[in-house]
């Protein structure tokens, strides 16, 4: 028993990757990708948001989910919903609709984003709701939240973090490809100096069971490096950023809800 306890609190020691996620219980199996899957087509992806406290057992688990729905067109429409379980039963959710270019970065053109909370009893907390409409105009962002319509700093080469989940699926598996851009995190916070590149097939020792995954890496200011693991059909299976992982899971919403009811993290 003592031995088990020591193991459970021992540091993971190495960065998260598919095989480590599998060892820690964050990944059961890679999601199956249909032969008909087209990254530039219509699709809906659901991800469990799994976090690691850096130890083998303690403090790891699902804290929320992310759903991204892509509708092709000109512009591309991306609908996003994310729910995060906060301490004390509070849930914070963000819903967004984004019009994107069908370019390499799925560059956002215009969007609406709404942030909501429920309280500790599960009731809506309308006083904590914010919503914003925004549009890219050149290198600026015209955003209006309530009665305020200020112009904020944007970028000529702008991406949005959630839309990159779409973009990386459409990038070629081609080394020496590197894209420079600024990223709008949560459609609200600009983080500069990002570089996204293809790193080849993920190292064999980092692979989980199932098909071999390809790896895109993103580094830049204001964020941990992002690692996007894409399967051979160009479907984004896992995203790892620091101690957080997004794991493709059609049952994400149900799994996270069940964990919440069970009081598990």
């Amino acid at each position: 028993m003592a031995k088990k306890s020591k193991r459970s609190s021992s540091p993971v020691g190495v960065p998260l990757c598919p095989v480590v996620l599998e060892q820690l219980g964050g990944l059961r199996a890679l999601a199956r990708t249909a032969e008909t899957f087209r990254p530039d087509g219509p699709w809906t992806h659901r991800y469990r948001i799994w976090t690691c406290y850096g130890r083998r057992s303690r403090g790891n688990g699902n804290v929320g989910w992310l759903r991204i729905q892509r509708t092709p067109g000109d512009p591309v429409a991306v609908a996003i919903e994310q729910r995060i379980r906060n301490a004390g039963g509070v849930v914070s959710s963000v819903q967004a609709r984004v019009e994107c270019r069908a370019d390499a970065l799925a560059s956002p053109i215009a969007w609406t984003v709404e942030s909501r909370f429920t309280d500790t009893q599960g009731a809506p907390a309308p006083a904590l709701t914010t919503s914003e409409k925004a549009r890219v105009s050149g290198a600026s962002i015209e955003a209006s939240a309530g009665t305020h319509t200020p112009t904020r700093q944007g970028s000529k080469n702008l991406a949005a973090d959630w839309c990159l989940f779409d973009a990386v699926q459409r990038l070629p598996f081609q080394k020496n490809t590197s894209i420079a851009f600024d990223v709008l995190e949560g459609l609200g916070i600009l983080k500069k100096g990002q570089r996204l590149s293809y790193a080849g097939l993920a190292p064999e020792k980092e692979q989980a069971g199932g098909p071999r995954l390809h790896l895109f890496q993103q580094v830049g200011h204001g964020a941990w490096p992002y690692e996007y693991y894409v399967d051979g059909r160009h479907r984004l299976q896992i995203v790892v950023t620091g101690p957080r992982a997004y794991v493709l899971d059609d049952a994400a919403e149900r799994v996270v809800a069940a964990a919440s009811k069970g009081g598990r993290k």
Binding site: P15, I84, N86, V90, V94, A125, I189, W224
Partner: protein
Amino acid sequence: MSTRLAITRRQFVRLGAAGAVAVAASPVFGAPAAGGGARPNILVVITDQQHAATISARGCPHIHTPALDRLCARGVHFDHSYSAYPLCSPARSAVFSSRMPSETGVYRNGRPIHPSIPNLGQWFRKQTDYETVYTGKWHLPSSFTHNVPGFNVLTAGVGGQGNLGDASTSRACEAFLRNRTGTTPFLLVCSLFQPHDICQWLRLNQVDPGTLRYPQLEPELPPLPPNFELRSPEPAIVASRRDGNEPGVHKGKWSPLHWRYYMWAYYRHVEMVDAEFGRVLRALEETGLDQETLVVFTSDHGEGLAHHQMVRKNFLYDEAARVPLIASWPGHLPGGTRDTRLVSGLDIVPTACHYAGVAPPQRALGTSLHTLFEDDAEASRPFITAEVADNRGRMIRTPRHKYVAYRDEPIEQLFDMQADPGETKNLARSSGHASLLADHRRMLREWEPRLRPAPGVPHAEAWRKA
């Protein structure tokens, strides 16, 4: 929105403590008296584990902190602000009570403030009509809780994950500011958890792989700090902290490259918290509340950041003990200024009380920063103190020197912080500094009787008798 006190702020300053007490004793708190001074809203932003020198506008070339840069441009930045105890719970107990952790009873993480000592929210609820609101980490004793005495908690964040929780915290603060309809002023605490996630990073990168996972980063990795090498004789407890903070990090197991990668990663963590603070600052600015709000930004403690081959906290080298402190209130405090005088986390409660027009709680040890803003020549204090290591350690920091002593440790430390800001030459064993050492021991002896240790705090009696 702020309300008006019928006494100007300048008049209030001139009245000093006696005036503050008089206002506090007024049968209707905040009631107009004469004149038209404003009581500002008060926004206290506290980050977790932020090294003092992590602001791009203050010369750190390895980081991009647009929000903190903006706050510096519109406020006063204190270069020498110290945590009262460079560990989460004890430091927070001092920030929110203006009492030393040996007095609050929070001599280690996860202990509550002694019930006889009010926290800032409780004091404001008793003495003012301010709306008191809390968001984010508390850690007195629970880290992420809705049970924060004296405050209405909007969200407590996500347990142990600043990367997710801080977005909730900043979004809740943003909503509170944008949707505000109240007519009384507010005291809002925005307690952000980053860059504390560096602790997760350390556990997830404990093994040095020998190569960089992202080779493209090598040209931008920060250099090792000048005080990376270990030279100065240290108390054994400090050396053990080096190994105990994150077993496996030290002991020669990390290459210089991995140390530099850790530094690079830490700066990204600070950028994350800057971004979340930026969301709150933007909401303040876009609603115009910035003109009516005193913003005080600080951190509970710093981060080793490879100096002395240390990571994390819980020691008294400046990297852990010194913290950022910025205060801003456009039109009322000087903008874009630096102040090199000694200040402490203890000063936040008296500062908030001063601007709210009430006296600080009895036995508060801090000094309101307004005395410095008013350029009061007597505001400079001869020294400030810190505690550490389950109340075993003490620091006396004077404008020139730093003295560190631990119970049951033969090695004391004395540094000339002007000639040797990296704390590499321990002068305590130099015969040429015997008199200086004696002076600092005397200061500590004179300080201890001012404290009223909580029951059961280890070493408290020994310090008193020292």
